[in-house]
């Protein structure tokens, strides 16, 4: 079994989706049924080959990383550095092959599901094309062996998510959401880019291996651990953006404007998990501080979003917030050092959350059709308050949905139980080791919340009575193309696929193939080493399990009490704690906050700058403009613009300040100069400038009046002014001329005399 085959296969896994994108984008319209069959087939081929790759890799080369790279760019023989080339390539290690398979599974099933869901959509083939493009970009992230292509993939998934969220771009809300998603992600990416810049600056390479080796050999940015921590955190910013972590989580709920299968694929299973994958990928270069930071970010995110999820009524919004919260879990898990658990939760969560979304998709689909038949366009097909009692009508959807819910709430015998439990154990262990007990506390609390809101969702949606009797008769189970994926996901949500022991993930194969790697950072800033941590984990395992079981049970119980048996009236409670409820309902007012500060702020700034540009910077030239107009059309009136004169003074002031800046600077700064000196120089310049301005203003103010009263018709300044003044000397009276001759004679005489 040779490695090249694997490499070739995985590269083809990379390219086949791209191929499907190209085919559909160019010929989609002409192909039968928009070419969906082609796309889907191609994706299932990918699925097959990625399974093959995974098994081969795990069977034959369990503990080596297969690398393949090529020289992408050569900077030649760079002065002071030597030969500098940039190599790009792929790496096949256990992490990547598993992730690749996960992506393939979800993507292919979503393709299948979409055939039913997107039936007779306006841009059917375009939709499938973009699905393919997304899969390609996601695979780039998964397979890359360097930061550069990682960043590339990062942006590419961003753009494909932009395109898919904005699929129904006629809706303004949709295109807004798309832009929001992209911009917020880009903010995160900035951090990542800065991190990459530090890395490249230090190591002159992008390749993970070389970087890690360099670090382990003691070469770290600017020779200080703090910079290493900073680099780590900056790179983690990328994850914050993609995985919708606090404070950049605001885009994910809005992203639900996109088609539901897209939400399932991108905003639940794969892209948002990319952040987690990134953290896992560069886990070894995080210092202890960085990890703690990561852990807290994860915890905070998990908590905030879980609380918000309780109050939401839009089925997809609930799922969105639960996704954020689960991602927070994974990040937290990685942060505390439960490397495997974190990634494990990624895989399991991918399955059941994708399932949940597809399930909600089929519900919405049904609702939508029903409403369509009723010609009812007011009612929101996504609002759970309009649902209920769908259980009888859509059994498959219901049962699968229930299984997913159990999984996410961490009920035994589900995959979710295994992964979640190991994360919780990890947090507990971390608490014991470091004393950061807040993290496990949040972890367990959130586990309860999750169980509660998920069952709230199930109960309100499927159980009880439907709100509208003539609608319920119109609701039907979705077609096979949609239910089959649900069933597959449901099956994949059972423990058996991950660990034969339903109560200990550690015995599962994932733990075998993905042991926690050892950090490469200098000892001083290292987190607790693997064996220390595993020891603690071992102790923490059972307490954690029981605790989580109890809490989850309580959550479910509360949900039933409140929403099924109605022992507690939810509305009353909401009334009682109105401020809290409002606070949660409005998602902690994050959007409002950002809207007020950043969006509005930016727009205000831009407008101010535009004004500045048109009136101040351009002021001088405007005068020239008016001036030329004045000349050509002979309008002296053009010159009466008082507004312009002030801009001229400003211009002069600015010019002086610039000059002064440069001269003072040149006197100030030594050859090897520091920014401070420039600032100082600039300050001096500004002072000088403003002084000139005021002097000019004061003087010229009077000047204006004098001119306007006296000699020339309203020419206030500049050569135009001189032009007119001197022109006025040309009185046409010969004797005036002669007087000027004498005058000139005298003046010259004195100049000459006192030279």
């Amino acid at each position: 079994m040779n490695q090249d085959l694997l490499v070739i296969l995985s590269i083809s896994n990379l390219l086949i989706p791209l191929l499907s994108f190209l085919i559909l984008i160019f010929f989609g319209k002409r192909l039968p049924r928009g070419g969906d069959s082609i796309a889907t087939t191609l994706l299932f081929i990918v699925l097959g080959s990625s399974f093959y790759v995974m098994f081969q890799k795990l069977m034959n080369f369990p503990d080596e990383a297969i690398q393949a790279s090529f020289k992408w760019v050569s900077f030649g023989n760079v002065p002071f550095i030597g030969q500098l080339d940039i190599h790009l390539g792929i790496v096949l290690d256990n992490l990547s092959v598993i992730m690749l398979t996960v992506v393939a599974i979800v993507s292919s099933l979503v393709h299948l599901f979409s055939i039913g869901y997107m039936k007779d959509d306006v841009r059917y083939s375009r939709y499938f094309a973009f699905l393919g493009f997304f899969t390609f970009s996601m695979s780039v992230i998964v397979l890359t062996n360097n930061f550069f292509t990682m960043y590339v993939g990062w942006e590419l998934v961003g753009i494909s998510s932009y395109l898919l969220i904005g699929h129904w771009y006629e809706k303004k809300s949709a295109s807004d959401a798309a832009i929001k998603a992209f911009i917020v992600n880009r903010i995160g990416d900035l951090g990542m880019f800065a991190g990459v810049m530090i890395i490249f600056f230090t190591f002159k390479t992008f390749s993970f291996d070389q970087i890690f080796n360099a670090i382990s050999s003691g070469n770290i940015p600017m020779g200080s651990e703090n910079w290493l921590t900073a680099a780590g955190i900056l790179i983690f910013c990328g994850a914050i953006g993609k995985s919708a972590q606090f404070p950049l989580h605001v885009w994910l709920p809005d992203a639900m404007e996109g088609p539901t299968p897209v939400s399932a694929l991108i905003h639940a299973a794969t892209m948002v998990a990319a952040g987690v994958y990134l953290v896992a990928r560069v886990f070894v270069m995080f210092t202890a501080d960085a990890l703690v930071f990561i852990a807290y970010i994860g915890a905070i995110t998990a908590f905030i979003s879980a609380t918000i999820a309780i109050a939401q009524n839009d089925i997809k919004k609930v799922l969105a917030y639960s996704t954020i919260s689960q991602l927070g879990y994974m990040i937290m898990g990685l942060g505390v050092g439960a490397y495997t658990a974190g990634f494990f939760h990624l895989t399991t969560h991918a399955m059941f959350k994708a399932g949940l979304f597809l399930g909600s998709g089929s519900v919405i689909h049904a609702m939508h059709h029903a409403l369509h038949h009723q010609h009812d366009h007011q009612t929101d097909p996504q609002d759970i308050r309009n649902m209920g009692g769908l259980r009888q009508k859509m059994p498959v959807t219901f049962w699968t949905f229930l299984i997913f819910t159990l999984a996410i709430s961490g009920v035994p015998f589900t995959s979710g139980f295994l992964s979640k439990d190991s994360i919780l154990a990890g947090t507990l262990a971390f608490g014991n080791l470091t004393g950061h007990y807040l993290i496990p506390i949040i972890g367990f609390f959130v586990a309860g919340l999750t169980a509660f809101y998920m069952f709230r969702l199930v109960i309100i949606t499927f159980l009880g009575e439907h709100k509208d009797n003539n609608r319920i008769v119109l609701i039907h189970e979705s077609p096979a193309v949609m239910t089959i994926p649900l069933i597959i996901f449901a099956v994949l949500s059972f423990f058996a696929f991950y660990s034969l022991n339903p109560f200990d993930a550690a015995e599962g194969w994932i733990y075998k193939v993905l042991p926690r790697p050892d950090s490469v950072v200098p000892l001083a800033s290292k987190a607790a080493s693997s064996d220390v941590f595993n020891e603690a984990l071992h102790h923490a395992h059972y307490p954690a399990m029981f605790l989580s079981l109890i809490i989850a049970g309580l959550g479910i119980l509360f949900a039933y009490i409140t929403y099924h048996w109605r022992k507690i009236d939810a509305d009353k409670v909401a009334e009682k704690f109105k401020p809290v409820y409002q606070f949660l309902l409005n998602k902690w007012y994050f959007d409002e906050l950002y809207g007020k500060i950043f969006v509005a702020g930016t727009h205000a700034t831009t407008r101010i700058l535009r004004w500045f540009d048109n009136n101040i910077i351009d002021g001088f030239v405007n005068n020239v403009g008016h001036w030329t107009v004045a000349i050509t059309l002979g309008y002296k009136e053009q010159w009466k613009y008082k507004t312009l004169s002030s801009t001229v003074y400003l211009t002069v002031a600015i010019i002086t300040s610039v000059l002064v800046t440069f001269f003072s600077a040149s006197s100030l700064w030594p050859a090897a100069s520091s920014i401070i000196n420039y600032l100082f120089a600039i300050i001096i310049g500004i002072i000088a400038g403003s002084l000139t301005f005021f002097g000019f203003w004061a003087g010229a103010g009077g000047f204006d009046k004098y001119i306007v009263d006296g000699l020339v018709n309203g020419v206030a300044y500049l050569s135009g002014f001189f032009g007119l003044v001197f022109r006025k000397f040309q009185t046409g009276k010969i004797q005036t001329y002669l007087i000027f001759v004498l005058f000139g004679f005298i003046v010259l005489y004195f100049i000459f005399r006192f030279l």
């Binding site: 022109r727 006025k728 040309q730 009185t731 046409g732 009276k733 010969i734 004797q735 002669l738 007087i739 004498l742």
Partner: protein, 103 residues
């Protein structure tokens, strides 16, 4: 006994020169302006002759004076012709009113 020296001539010519300039800039009548010019030229002549006589210098100065006198005559002739023309077209010889060309 009072004797006339170079200085007196220079002072005289200076006075003449200033008078000439004064007349040129103050008189409104073109003819008078021309007379002012004549004064200026003659003040220069006085200088030339005075210098060449008292300064024990060569004859150049006196030559110059002769030339200048002739030239002044020519200039005056042309000037008067032009003034006549002006009077024909403008019906005035007041130089202040002849200011159509300006700015």
């Amino acid at each position: 006994m009072f004797s006339v020296g170079l200085t007196h001539y220079l002072v005289l010519s200076a006075i003449l020169f200033s008078l000439g300039l004064f007349g040129v800039v103050t008189r409104r009548n073109a003819i008078l302006v021309l007379m002012g010019i004549e004064l200026i030229l003659n003040s220069a002549n006085i200088n030339f002759i005075a210098f060449s006589h008292y300064g024990k210098l060569n004859i150049d100065g006196q030559l110059a004076a002769v030339f200048v006198i002739i030239l002044a005559a020519a200039e005056a002739a042309v000037a008067l012709a032009i003034v006549l023309n002006i009077y024909k077209t403008f019906q005035t010889v007041n130089v202040d009113e002849i200011n159509k060309l300006k700015e």
